[in-house]
Subunit: 360 residues, 2 copies
């Protein structure tokens, strides 16, 4: 496909506007260039080692993964500094975790002494030492220990474990990254980061050095990334953006669309295309039509239905290709096996989404 027109791509297909994506990568890298905090982009969004490498080339200090399977893919692609920002539970996964640690500088999150002990034992048996961050619950009410003393007690236990290397703490303010009210988002993020950094201070007061304080997402990077005491930010969605994040007006561009073919015209007001819920997710609402003269009003499994605002004005015929902007980039990308990178209407890159479906 390389060198061909984007309209020669068979559909539905995941398309990235390379100019927009590169501006997003540079824009986020610029924000962190002269700050104490650094960027560790989250690969859960793109799931593609080639894109992770571009983020590293632009200055990111490492890569964040959500799942062990993603970390395996990134480590196999030669990326060394990896944070697996979730707890890894059970003997099967811990055995795989140790294998990833043998070929990378892996960091993993823990929130219980039982899990820390299980990882330490497996690491020791394999002759490796695994770096760990304690996950602190900074208000998301999901995983993590409570801020302050509970984190100190867990750190003291981790320091006794010979298979682990305590590196610091992480806290994800996931409950607020998508809050549409900028003031609320920023003030709530300040609260979360205050909890995280006060936990750092409690650890240091107990004589425990803290190298890494990791947090943040695309919706809060500007607060988290400027917060004294935070050392790195895990933003992911900024690279592609999506229709929902676009509404937050964060200074990044929508680089991601699903290219889809008109398969039926059911009268002058309706355009039916070949992208449904199996090509673009709708849990965050309907995708947007890139051509603003139309609106996506329904997705069934394999069809999207658009209505035409001015029936006289839209010339699309069966076989024509149109673009829709996902409302949720991360889950939409996870439906596809291939990214088509496009510049000035021509295909310039085709990437395998190697960590697609790596939920384990």
């Amino acid at each position: 496909m390389i060198g061909k027109s984007m309209y020669d791509i068979d559909t539905p297909a995941l398309v990235i506007d390379l100019d927009a994506m590169e501006r997003n990568i540079r824009g986020m890298a610029d924000f962190f260039r002269d700050r104490p905090a650094k960027l560790r982009p989250h690969a859960k969004t793109h799931k593609t080692p080639e894109l992770a490498q571009m983020q590293l080339d632009a200055g990111a200090i490492g890569i964040t993964c959500a799942k062990l399977g993603e970390a395996e893919v990134m480590a196999d692609a030669g990326i060394r500094d990896l944070l697996l920002a979730n707890e890894v539970i059970g003997a099967q996964k811990i055995a795989r975790l140790v294998e990833v640690a043998k070929k990378s500088d892996l960091i993993v999150a823990v929130d219980s002494v039982e899990n820390a002990r299980a990882i330490s034992e497996a690491a020791e048996a394999a002759g490796v030492r695994i770096r760990v961050l304690i996950e602190v619950d900074v208000g998301q009410n999901r995983c993590g220990v409570r801020p302050g003393e509970p984190a100190v007690r867990l750190a003291q236990e981790i320091l006794k474990l010979r298979g682990l290397l305590f590196q610091g703490i992480m806290g994800y303010e996931g409950h607020i990254v998508l809050n549409p009210d900028r003031e609320v988002r920023e003030s709530e993020c300040q609260k979360s980061m205050t909890q995280l950094v006060s936990t750092r201070e409690a650890l240091e007061a107990a004589g425990i050095p803290v190298e890494i304080v990791s947090g943040g997402g695309t919706g809060t990077y500007a607060v988290t990334g400027a917060f004294p005491g935070v050392t790195e930010v895990q933003a992911g969605s900024y690279i592609t953006m999506d229709a929902r994040y676009k509404g937050l007006d964060l200074g990044f561009e929508c680089a991601l669309t699903v290219l889809t073919t008109v398969v039926s015209r059911n009268g002058p007001e309706i355009v039916v295309c070949d992208a449904g819920m199996k090509a673009v997710t709708r849990e965050f609402g309907m995708p947007e039509s890139k051509d603003t003269r139309m609106e996506v009003v329904h997705l069934s499994e394999e069809h999207g239905k658009l209505t035409v605002k001015d029936p006289g004005g839209v010339p699309y015929r069966v076989g024509d290709k149109i673009e829709i902007i996902p409302s949720h980039g991360c889950t939409t990308i996870n439906l596809h096996d291939t990214f088509y990178g496009v510049r000035a209407g021509k295909v310039e890159a085709v990437w395998n989404i190697a960590a697609r479906g790596k939920v384990r």
Copy 2:
């Protein structure tokens, strides 16, 4: 994994209760055994040739596919009688369609003379004849020609095309298959099938023989399958069912769950598991906990959060495995690469979901 306990499966994982699935397959086959209409199960649900073969072995006359990529997988697995129940648009796809027709008795839906001509030309050039059904819009307002005369005019054009073999009509009452009110569902389905069968009559009155009249889904199979003049029904979800279809009380069992591991207990009222939106979809609402003492209240990308109704009564600890029932089976299955078939708690079969992600 075969022979091991289901609780040895790493998570999140897609599990089928084989006893329940086999009862569903038998139950639907029994309904059609002595009727004029026959069953052509929709493979868009399971996307797995081994399960399609079980449906054929139980008496189904053929298999329905939503996408060309699914039809390719089913034809490659040796399944011959295939209905591709959507329009196939564009030269790239039509070239693939012809290849499928060379190795199967493919039927494809059309709703325009332009598309019929393009398929006919490609078929003729390849020396095959492709069977076609005209899709009739029976109220879904998506693809298809209007009932009656428009279908007759299109059929007359198709009869002139030497690469096509006109076989009949199809109409999908997709706008009502999930209507929770049985009376409304049945009466609306009667209206749709009246439109479809009156189109059959109009064709026959014009001297055009109609071999196939295809329609229906799981929510309406009992109406469509008993409607005089309908020859086959395309039900799909009945094989696994899901939490949403379960509410329709159709006589089939929920055979599908996502097995997931407890990764954190954030206090006595909260269980956090490792199945999020990338392992179970939520566009039809939250999945259900199989253990009814808990309720799934939130899905983020890689985590599910359940609340415990009686905090004293739920013993789950980190590392324990629980099951959740998808609200939408078809899109959830499409997130996974593997089905684990389980009987009496032991893994009996492991199937590759070969048509997963085949959206083209």
